[in-house]
């Protein structure tokens, strides 16, 4: 019987096959490291007198805990500064390449891997960060790990892992105009629930994914973890090869040809069988936003806040009750009537150049509504430079938005970019958990065009609503 993409990736990386319920030992092709989940791992190595086995397969950057203003000044918060300095010292002591604040390749860890060409098809990729699933867009097996596992990979370049089951999510048709990969993944999560993918390696397939750009595929794979999947991936095709080719760390010459030949063998075989299959109709998807406090609590922008009683499942009902209370929303309120204080455009979900272009094309010639602020945080220093070359910074600044340095920023509210208690955001990031963007803050997850349109009207809106807004 044929094998799926994920099974081929798994098999190709087994160093030692586990027996009798033992996990397999997998080789790791790329280990990405950032300042927040690594200090205790390096310290563990030091205490045990161990080294980093493959610094040449390891790469560090600073993203979660850095400011997006005044990168030239020392980090004001001494505790944050100590954490970033610890990463720099660890990189130096253990010989790990690092892209620090100020370096042109610094940025959110899941944006710089693909950008440098070190994220490629056929790889295993891990990082002490749950959104490592992003890299699956290239046809790689990529998943997030905890700090103990970070230490394990640093020391051994391997990881013991129990083999997950396989799932296919097939999306046929074509996404309608104005509907983005973000709307697709939010729709998917609301249908299957936040636990729906648990225990599965998911392959996204079908016409919609074949037609999707690499950056769109990254947006969808990024949010695999939000419905519990171990990993999410898309089979590599010409779109993938074109994206990787010529990047600084991508193979070249004969290596390139050998690589492409191999990558072409990775596609799921015709006769392979998935343990579970889900089908969606892409042409039926509309702009989608969340109303609650987990990414599965979403509805089409065209509808209204649901009532807790509308959920038949007891757990879903009580969770909806809590969420409505926390979000301070009344059932029946049209989603479009929800007023927004802050719009956040950025993160490893939607902080790439295509996202900024799309948002800029909506906002051009408009002003950010009075009483609303808009924060634009490019995902990496290079995305920022590219956007400036294209004049996108001027579009955002001209509209009254803030144009910041690269990093995670308000996606997780670890640096000073936070919501105030009670403040409400429309955010292109991936998590609307209670307090995620600042204690007491309320988050609605949206796509980049919805974020831009919302900034202009001051309440949740799609670009199609703007016709009525005066330019």
């Amino acid at each position: 019987m044929g094998r799926t993409l994920s099974e081929k990736l798994w098999d190709a990386h087994v160093v030692h096959k586990g027996e009798g319920g033992e996990p397999d030992l997998l080789y790791i092709d790329l280990h990405l490291v950032h300042e927040v989940t690594s200090p205790q791992a390096f310290e563990g190595l030091r205490l045990a007198g161990r080294t980093v086995r493959r610094p040449d397969l390891t790469m560090a950057t600073e993203d979660h805990n850095i400011p997006t203003l005044h990168p030239e000044l020392p980090i004001a918060d001494p505790v944050s500064r100590a954490q970033v300095e610890t990463l720099r010292r660890n990189a130096k002591d253990f010989g790990v390449p690092i892209h620090s604040l100020g370096d042109v390749d610094q940025g959110v860890v899941h944006i710089i891997g693909p950008q440098l060409g070190v994220t490629e098809p056929g790889m295993t990729i891990v990082c002490g960060d749950s959104h490592t699933s992003t890299h699956g867009a290239f046809g790689a097996l990529a998943f997030g790990i905890g700090t103990s596992e970070v230490e394990h990979v640093l020391a051994t370049q391997t990881l013991p892992q129990a083999r997950p089951k396989t799932m296919a999510v097939t999306v046929d048709g074509t996404l309608p105009d104005g509907v983005t990969p973000k709307d697709l993944v939010l729709t998917l999560i609301s249908e299957v629930g936040t636990g729906g993918g648990q225990g599965y390696m998911v392959e996204y397939r079908g016409q919609v994914f074949e037609e999707m750009s690499m950056e769109g595929r990254m947006t969808v794979c990024n949010m695999s973890i939000e419905w519990g999947a171990k990993a999410g991936m898309v089979a590599p095709d010409q779109t993938t090869f074109d994206y990787v080719k010529g990047r600084p760390l991508a193979p070249s010459g004969a290596d390139w040809d050998a690589a492409v030949d191999y990558w072409k063998t990775l596609r799921t075989d015709e006769d392979a069988v998935f343990d579970r299959e889900i089908h969606l109709d892409g042409s039926a998807i509309t702009p989608f936003v969340t109303w609650g406090t987990n990414p599965g609590q979403g509805v089409p922008l065209d509808s209204s806040v649901p009532a807790a009683e509308s959920f038949t499942d007891e757990v879903a009902r009580s969770s909806a009750e809590r969420a409505l209370n926390y979000m301070d929303l009344k059932p029946g309120t049209p989603m479009r009537d929800i007023r927004i204080d802050t719009v956040f455009l950025g993160s490893c979900t939607n902080g790439r150049i295509e996202d900024l272009r799309l948002a800029a094309s909506v906002i051009k010639g408009h002003k950010v509504a009075e009483g609303t602020r808009m924060l634009v945080v490019p995902g990496s220093a290079r995305v920022r430079l590219q956007a400036m070359e294209e004049g996108l910074d001027k579009v955002f600044l001209g509209a009254g938005a803030e144009w910041r340095g690269a990093g995670c920023s308000m996606c997780l509210g670890m640096n000073p970019d936070q919501l105030a208690p009670g403040e409400r955001s429309a955010s292109t990031s991936n998590r609307n958990f209670e307090g995620r963007q600042g204690r007491g803050g309320r988050t609605h997850l949206v796509s980049p065009p919805v974020a831009a349109a919302t900034a202009i009207t001051g309440h949740l809106s799609a670009p199609a609503d703007l016709a009525a807004v005066e330019v």
Binding site: L30, Q40, G146, H152, A155, V315
Partner: protein, 201 residues
């Protein structure tokens, strides 16, 4: 890692589902570079509420946590496990857990005991019938003993063995160093490295 065989302590009913790791410990508490001290951030937002279960004297010294389904979803932060351990928790009993959180717990020595949600409801009722009552969780027999009943829990055999023996994963893997080297010798040359980037001086 310390061996884990059995634990007796106060069982805390946490009647909430979808408790993601951002709720267990918010990002602003993740700045430390140690593995200790994270108890200050544990359930930080909820602990400001006098009605929260850990603010009840009977449950303040809890060491066995019983949350609703989908506990520990979201962010990979192992700090969530450390925060629970630093506070004094040894065991979490529930029906469904975030994958990375369950892995992290296994590595760090926090026992994740899985039971059906119907059993969770019984355990909640037992814990609330006598607030502050002790439960015993025995990893050898895979049982939870409350003042009212004995129930079985599930834990994967590999994790159970490691916890019972107090095994360190890295040492075990390093015994396979030859196999790792053999695998590396066969890796194709087109696989990328991060090294054409300058290494800090």
């Amino acid at each position: 890692m310390d061996k884990f065989t059995s634990h007796t302590g106060v069982a805390v009913p946490l009647r909430r589902s979808n408790v993601d790791t951002d709720q267990i410990i918010p990002a602003v508490y993740l700045k430390r570079i140690t593995r200790t001290g994270f108890e200050d951030g544990l359930f930080a937002a909820w602990r400001k509420d006098p009605g929260f279960v850990l603010n009840q004297p009977a449950w303040a010294n809890g060491s066995i946590l019983i949350p609703g389904p989908d506990f520990g979803t979201g962010s990979s932060r192992e700090h969530a496990v450390w925060a629970l351990q630093n506070y004094g928790f040894k065991v979490v009993i529930g029906s469904r857990f975030g994958d990375i959180f369950r892995n992290n717990s296994g590595k760090a020595g926090l026992l994740i005991a899985t039971v059906d949600q119907a059993v969770v409801e019984q355990l909640w009722a037992d814990a609330e019938a006598a607030p502050g009552a002790d439960f015993t969780v025995d990893l050898k027999t895979r049982t939870i003993t409350t003042p009212q009943r004995v129930v079985e829990f599930a834990v994967d055999e590999f994790t159970r063995h490691r916890l019972l023996e107090g095994l360190d994963d890295i040492s075990s893997t390093l015994q396979l160093a030859d196999e790792i080297s053999a695998y590396e010798a066969d890796r194709p040359s087109f696989k990328p490295t991060t090294m054409s980037v300058e290494v800090p001086a």
